[in-house]
Assembly symmetry: C2
C-alpha cells in the first residue's frame, strides 16, 4: 500500500496540483504532505515543473493507449461508446490526475507545452475520426462535427469535477449515461438498456486493466 517515496511524491503532487493548483502549491507544502524535508524532494525529482510534466505525460499516454486498443473494425456508434466509456471511466476513477491534465497544462513551458498539446491533439484526433466516420455513414447527424467533438469531450471531462464513487451513481451507470447522452447529441439516440448491452459486449475491462494496471485490484 505504501509505495516508494517517489510514488508518494507523485501522489501528493497530483492531489495538491488538482486541489490548489500548480502555482499555488509550494515545494515545502508538497514535502510536508509526503512527510519529508523539502530538500529530500530533490533527491527523487527534478524541478517542480518536471513533476507536472511527468504527470501529464503519463496520464495522456495511458488514455491514448487505451483508446488505441479499440478495434477500428467496429462501427462508429460502438467506437464512440467505447471512447466515451474510457474517457469517463478514467476521469471518474482518476479525477485528480485528469483534472491536472485538463487545467494545468498552461503551467508548462514552451517545449513541454508543445509536447503535451501534441498528445492531446492525437487523442482528440481519435474522436474526430470516429465522428467523421459516423457522419459519413449517416449514423450521426450534426451541424458541425468539429463543434460536436469539442462539446462531447468537454462534457465527458467534467466528470472529474463532480463524480464521487461513494454517491448513488455506480461507475457502470455513469459510463452508460454518458454514452447515451453522447449518442443522443449526435442524433443517434438509443435506449438505455441497448447501450448497457453494447458496452457489456464491448467488454473494455481488459483494456482498462492494461492501461491503468494499478487500478486492477
Amino acid at each position: 500500500m505504501a509505495g516508494g517515496t517517489e510514488e508518494q511524491i507523485r501522489r501528493a503532487a497530483v492531489h495538491l496540483f488538482a486541489t490548489r493548483g500548480f502555482h499555488a502549491t509550494g515545494i515545502r507544502q508538497l514535502a510536508e504532505a509526503v512527510g519529508i524535508n523539502s530538500s529530500t524532494l530533490y533527491h527523487y525529482m527534478g524541478t517542480k515543473e518536471d513533476l507536472l510534466f511527468a504527470i501529464t505525460q503519463d496520464s495522456f499516454r495511458r488514455l491514448i493507449d487505451a483508446a488505441d486498443r479499440l478495434s477500428p473494425d467496429l462501427n462508429p456508434q460502438v467506437r464512440l461508446c467505447g471512447l466515451v466509456y474510457l474517457h469517463v471511466w478514467s476521469h471518474a476513477t482518476h479525477p485528480e490526475e485528469t483534472a491536472v491534465v485538463d487545467n494545468e497544462l498552461r503551467s508548462l513551458d514552451g517545449d513541454r507545452l508543445a509536447q503535451a498539446v501534441e498528445l492531446r491533439d492525437r487523442y482528440e484526433g481519435l474522436w474526430a475520426s470516429v465522428i467523421a466516420d459516423g457522419c459519413a455513414s449517416g449514423t450521426f447527424a450534426v451541424q458541425d462535427p468539429r463543434i460536436a467533438r469539442i462539446a462531447l469531450l468537454q462534457m465527458c471531462s467534467g466528470v472529474a469535477g463532480w463524480y464521487s464513487a461513494s454517491g448513488k451513481t455506480s461507475l457502470r451507470d455513469l459510463t452508460t449515461t454518458y454514452a447515451q447522452m453522447a449518442l443522443s447529441l449526435l442524433s443517434c439516440g438509443r435506449d438505455y438498456r441497448t447501450i448497457e448491452r453494447l458496452l457489456d459486449d464491448l467488454d473494455l475491462q481488459p483494456v482498462v486493466a492494461a492501461a491503468w494496471p494499478e487500478s486492477a485490484i
Copy 2:
C-alpha cells in the same frame, strides 16, 4: 476606448488571470500591463484577491440577471434554448472573464468562495428547474436529469476555451448549434432551421444588451 484606470486594471487582470492563472499572475506584472507602478495599483483596488472576487461576482450577476429575464411562461424547450443562448453567448463574447469564473474560484478564501458558490448554485438551479419541467411534461427524456444538467453546463462553458469571433463560425451559428446539441442530448432533437427561428422569435438581444451594456456597440 481608454476607460478609467480602474477599468484598465480590471481588464488587464481578467486577461492575466485567464491566461496565466491567478497565482501565476504577479502584482508587478499586472501593473506593467496597465502601464503604472505596482504601488499605484493599490490606490484603485484592495488586495489581489479583492480584484478576483469583484470579477467573479460581476460576471455571475450579469449571467444570472440575464437568465432571470427569461419568461417562466415559455415552455421548457424554448427556455432551455434561451439558457443555452445566454450561456454560450456570454462565454463566446467574454471568454476570459468567464474562464476566470470557471477556473479560478478555488483561489478565493472561505467566505468569498462560499458567496461565489452560492451564486453558481443559484444559476445552476435555473437550469435544473427547466430540465425538471421538461422531463415532467415529457418534452425531455434523460436517464438522470442532474447528470444531464452538469453535462450541458460543462459543454456550453467549453466555448470560452476555443471560440474565436474571427473564425468561420458566426455567433449566431454558434449559439444555434449549441442549442440544437442541447436539445438533442435531452432527446428532444429539432431541425437546425427550427431552432434558428425559435431563437429569432425569442429575440434575446435586449436581454443581452441589458446585462452586458458595454457590449452594445
